[in-house]
Symmetry: C2
């Protein structure tokens, strides 16, 4: 039996519905049953993180929250492909802290050297772009999709599918989903089967990496 | 209980001693108990892979071996940081194939953006270098260490420790061990405790990535 780790999952969108709040934590636990998750979200940010201003606001809330709960956990996941607060927390906390962005970018590099990025911003999130470096072939966002909530509509989902097809035409080896809202709508499997290329899910990736980091501390 | 996967571990040095042959597979299974390993090695290559000629020779042997055994496994690990044969096999086989090089490079990117590479060749292995891109700050090899066997001597080990200390002086965020012989001698933990920065082990990383890829196929 693999060692279990207590993981705090911080959602960067305000969620008052308990089921929605728990969703990423539940996925993480399904992927890696040894990760026992507790979910949190930041207050007063109903549209999540989708531009510089919302990023900056979220960062301060995330850092404060993570610091206040760290003593209870073996690791913290910031469940956002923008990785708000991750670099600050990595330096300041004693436990592993991961974000979806660097996690999905680093994992995607095992699928090839030409990575396409599909997110909700015109440019790839900063840590996704810097982690991929010159393996980032193109970053795209679906038309009409500007926040994580837009992904929840039929129109939003259709736009994601169309944009993924366009990205495939660029000859990428894999498509990196650069918004954890894509995990919320469970679209990676659908796209992968439709396009027949690897489509890398950010919540799966953050689960893989926090498990890898927690285990590494105890394994070595 | 996590799903179990049957993993072939291909050693790229000829090993007639059963215990030595099994060592990486045993480590992989200790890190991830759901990975059930069977070890193989290539014939007539007692000094492993350490230059262009030995790389080329090994690649053909590895590709032939992997093709002949693939039907028995869920995934294949080429336990060498040079990743010989990995790119060919990725395209030709239906199951996941990973090498230690891209695995350790991709995992290291979760530790920071300034990575130092410590291997047995003057330059970083090709896939390690390309995966790291501009995050590769410096690659070094210990003086007098030219093959994986040189790591097994006291002098070789001392040279690794000294070179790791010099690499740390370059201000790297983490040290990537770019030879699986470093895993054989179990030096990551020792270096990490001595230098107090993350030291990333290649056999741990290949275990993490093959588990991540096998699980991804079944999870999605």
């Amino acid at each position: 039996m693999a060692e279990t780790y207590q993981i705090a999952v911080i959602r960067v969108v305000t969620l008052e519905n308990e089921e929605k709040l728990q969703l990423h934590g539940k996925l993480i636990n399904e992927y890696f049953p040894n990760l026992i998750t507790t979910s949190y979200c930041i207050p007063d940010q109903y549209e999540g993180v989708h531009d510089d201003l919302t990023y900056e606001r979220a960062t301060k809330k995330i850092v404060d929250l993570a610091k206040s709960i760290q003593h209870k956990y073996d690791g913290i996941v910031i469940s956002c492909a923008g990785d708000p607060g991750v670099e600050i927390l990595r330096k300041e906390l004693e436990i592993p802290v991961v974000g979806a962005g660097h996690s999905v970018a680093s994992f995607s590099l095992n699928f090839g050297e030409r990575i396409g990025v599909l997110g909700i911003t015109a440019e790839a999130p900063q840590l996704v772009a810097s982690t991929l470096g010159d393996k980032l072939i193109k970053a795209v966002k679906p038309e009409g999709v500007n926040t994580t909530n837009d992904l929840l509509t039929e129109v939003g989902r259709a736009a994601v599918v169309q944009t993924a097809g366009e990205l495939q035409q660029e000859g990428v080896d894999a498509i990196l989903l650069a918004c954890t809202g894509m995990s919320t709508i469970g679209i990676a499997k659908f796209l992968q089967e439709k396009l027949n290329i690897p489509v890398i899910d950010p919540v799966y990736s953050e689960a893989l990496v926090i498990n890898g980091l927690c285990k590494y501390r105890s394994a070595l």
